[in-house]
């Protein structure tokens, strides 16, 4: 094996210094992320994510549960007309873990009807409907109001004057999701995508044009070492972007962010993937112009549809389907899970997917990228 860490580090030193000396490199690494978060944070500051969707899990197989759901529906089914004032009820299968399901949908509002609901109601026992909500959100207050109303109706219908059905409130996972909470992980993903992609696509074509790859191939530096040094560099810049954006998000806009090791994994995997992808994309085109066109074709859909600026769950269904084939989605989704919900189990899938595709793309990049010519 020819691999040498010291050569990788020598290359890293030269590349890192060059990046900082170049105005674009400096701008995209340190200034741009801060501008982005200040801009988007300011535009949307204070605004909560408007979540009119309420998830309903009916665990009761009897008639009363069904009646309860239809009562809820009759008070508040606004799914079709798109009115922002109303609530849209979405059924959740019985067998899923409800609070996890909520967080996987980035939602905090939900209603759970217990399994013994019909039985208890008919036999006059006390039974509670659980309402999940976020105390500080207006939609949650609306949900509570609607549920209270329906419960009231049921209690009136039941044995006279006795309140058999109660409401148990639960706060959904984290306390207060604001737009900025989603913006921070989204923009970290954005930074992890854009600076390596643009740099690598550009580099792969200009280095070939200027014969710099040929020059490097005349030294003992290997392609793997060269690519690895770029990955390390962009991990560093992504970490710096992360620190800057998180600091601005937290101190300027009051974002709620959980710091943990899961974030570190994504800060490694993101640049690993995008440096490799940038190199791979760069190999398919010979001129810098063609390379940048191909690079943009790959980069732009990811830039906007992966949950960078807006949570994917707030996008129309068909765009959500598109998002799910974009690798950046998994980085941002994973970052959301660990940074906002502290939900590691959900993030493992994202990590595994990202790692697998990174390894594949890295291997392809090393294989297809030539620094000599036939």
């Amino acid at each position: 094996m020819r691999f040498s860490l010291s050569r990788t580090m020598s290359d890293l030193k030269v590349y890192g210094r060059s990046s900082l000396r170049s105005r674009e490199g400096f701008f995209f690494t340190l200034v741009f992320p801060v501008i982005l978060i200040l801009l988007f944070g300011a535009i949307f500051s204070g605004g909560g994510v408007s979540q009119s969707t309420v998830y309903v899990q009916n665990n009761d197989t009897g008639p009363v549960g069904a009646a309860f759901v239809s009562a809820l529906n009759s008070t508040s089914n606004y799914c079709s007309n798109g009115s922002s004032a109303g609530l849209c009820l979405r059924p959740v299968p019985m067998d899923v873990n409800f609070s996890q399901y909520l967080s996987s949908k980035s939602a905090s509002d939900g209603i759970v009807i217990p399994a013994n609901f019909s039985l208890a109601f008919e036999s006059g026992q006390e039974v509670n409907v659980t309402v999940f909500g976020n105390p500080s959100s207006t939609t949650s207050a609306v949900v509570s109001g609607v549920v209270a109303e329906v419960v009231n109706g049921f209690n009136v219908r039941g044995a006279a004057g006795v309140h058999h059905v109660g409401i148990a409130s639960r706060t959904a996972v984290s306390s207060n999701y604001k737009y900025i909470d989603f913006l921070v992980p989204g923009l970290i993903g954005f930074a992890a995508l854009t600076s390596p992609m643009f740099a690598m696509v550009n580099m792969s074509s200009t280095y070939r044009r200027d014969k710099v790859f040929k020059l490097l191939s005349l030294t003992p530096l290997t392609k793997t070492e060269w690519l690895l040094s770029k990955i390390i560099w962009y991990v560093c810049t992504t970490v710096v972007s992360f620190i800057l954006m998180t600091a601005v998000g937290v101190y300027v806009f009051g974002a709620h962010i959980a710091l943990n090791w899961g974030i570190g994994i994504f800060l490694l995997l993101g640049p690993f993937f995008f440096v490799s992808l940038g190199m791979l994309v760069g190999t398919v085109s010979n001129t810098p112009e063609a390379a940048s066109v191909v690079g943009n074709l790959v980069t732009f859909p990811m830039m906007f549809l992966s949950g960078t600026f807006f949570p994917v769950s707030s996008m129309p269904k068909y765009l959500q389907a598109v998002a799910h084939v974009l690798p950046l989605y998994y980085m941002i989704d994973g970052l959301n899970e660990v940074m906002i919900y502290g939900n590691f189990e959900a993030a493992y899938i994202d990590m595994a997917l990202l790692l697998a595709i990174s390894v594949v793309v890295f291997a392809l990049a090393v294989k297809f990228f030539r620094w000599r010519e036939d």
Partner: protein
């Protein structure tokens, strides 16, 4: 074992046969210069020897190694300046040399190397801000970092000022003194005459002449010529009154001499013509004359007088 051995080497780009069956060998410690017009195939040949391009057929060996298959081994032992050398935009010459030193695992003194190529005055300037000649000098310095046995210099002095060119010559002479092998391409024929032990002239991918400059001059040159400053009247007189071949232009008349008797006839005729003349010289065909003749042939140039 020769340092470089090439036989029947061929390389085609699409329809262009860039290298068309060339054969030559360069001994260890020799300075060998490849000459030829633009597009002759010099760079292609050199790049194949450096292991940067694959050949189509034929054999190429440098230090006994197949450059393409054993490139990684070979590159530790050769130094290269590519034609139109470019480097990363931001490192300074000093940083670039340290970087190369680290990659090759060699201890180098950047300042010593920079002095050697007369670049010590710009050792801390970003590469993108160096002048064309300074960039070229950095290329020279980088090619020497790994203490190479064979050095390939593809047009190392193109774009250099006369002083810098002489500095490069000095470096090449020193390399030769140290027993290293140098293969060099150039469009400056005096540079080849100055530095090369042997030269090869390439045209359309083929070597059309090879040997020491003297050998080439005497083999392909058309013998002696007399050059005298004078006008059209002199040229007219010579053409009308002698059987000598003469050409004129730019205030000069050139008379081609086949033997010593021609010289006497020419001198006599000049004297008899009564025309004004001065600065009479006799010289053999220079490398440049031969080069133009060989390279111009079959393209309709240089056949006018025959």
């Amino acid at each position: 074992m020769p340092a470089i051995e090439v036989s029947g080497l061929k390389k085609k780009y699409g329809d262009i046969q860039a290298v068309d069956g060339t054969s030559f060998s360069v001994e260890e410690g020799e300075v060998f210069s490849l000459l030829g017009p633009n597009g002759a195939g010099k760079t292609t040949t050199i790049e194949i020897l450096e292991g940067l391009r694959n050949k189509d057929s034929g054999t190429a060996k440098v230090l006994g190694l197949d450059p393409w298959a054993s490139g990684y081994e070979l590159h530790k032992r050769i130094g290269v300046i590519p034609q139109g050398f470019k480097f990363l935009d931001y490192p300074t010459p000093r940083e670039a040399i340290s970087y190369y030193g680290a990659l090759f695992g060699k201890k180098v003194d950047p300042d010593e190397l920079l002095r050697r190529v007369i670049l010590d005055d710009a050792s801390n300037v970003w590469f993108q801000n160096l002048s064309g000649g300074q960039k070229q000098k950095l290329g020279m310095a980088l090619s020497l970092v790994n203490d190479p046995q064979v050095i390939f210099l593809d047009e190392p002095t193109t774009g250099l000022d006369p002083q810098a060119r002489r500095a490069v010559w000095e470096v090449v002479r020193k390399l030769k003194d140290e027993g290293r092998t140098v293969m060099l391409t150039t469009h400056y024929l005096e540079e080849a005459e100055e530095l090369a032990d042997r030269v090869a002239i390439m045209k359309h991918g083929k070597i059309v002449a090879m040997g020491t400059t003297e050998e080439i001059e005497s083999r392909f040159g058309s013998g002696q010529r007399m050059v005298v400053k004078g006008g059209d009247d002199l040229l007219k007189y010579l053409r009308e009154n002698t059987r000598l071949r003469a050409e004129g232009g730019a205030g000069e008349v050139t008379i081609f001499l086949r033997d010593k008797a021609d010289a006497m006839v020419a001198l006599g005729a000049i004297e008899e013509s009564g025309a004004a003349w001065e600065d009479l010289t006799v010289r053999r065909d220079s490398l440049e004359d031969v080069f133009l003749k060989l390279v111009g042939e079959s393209e309709g140039i240089g056949e006018g007088g025959e």
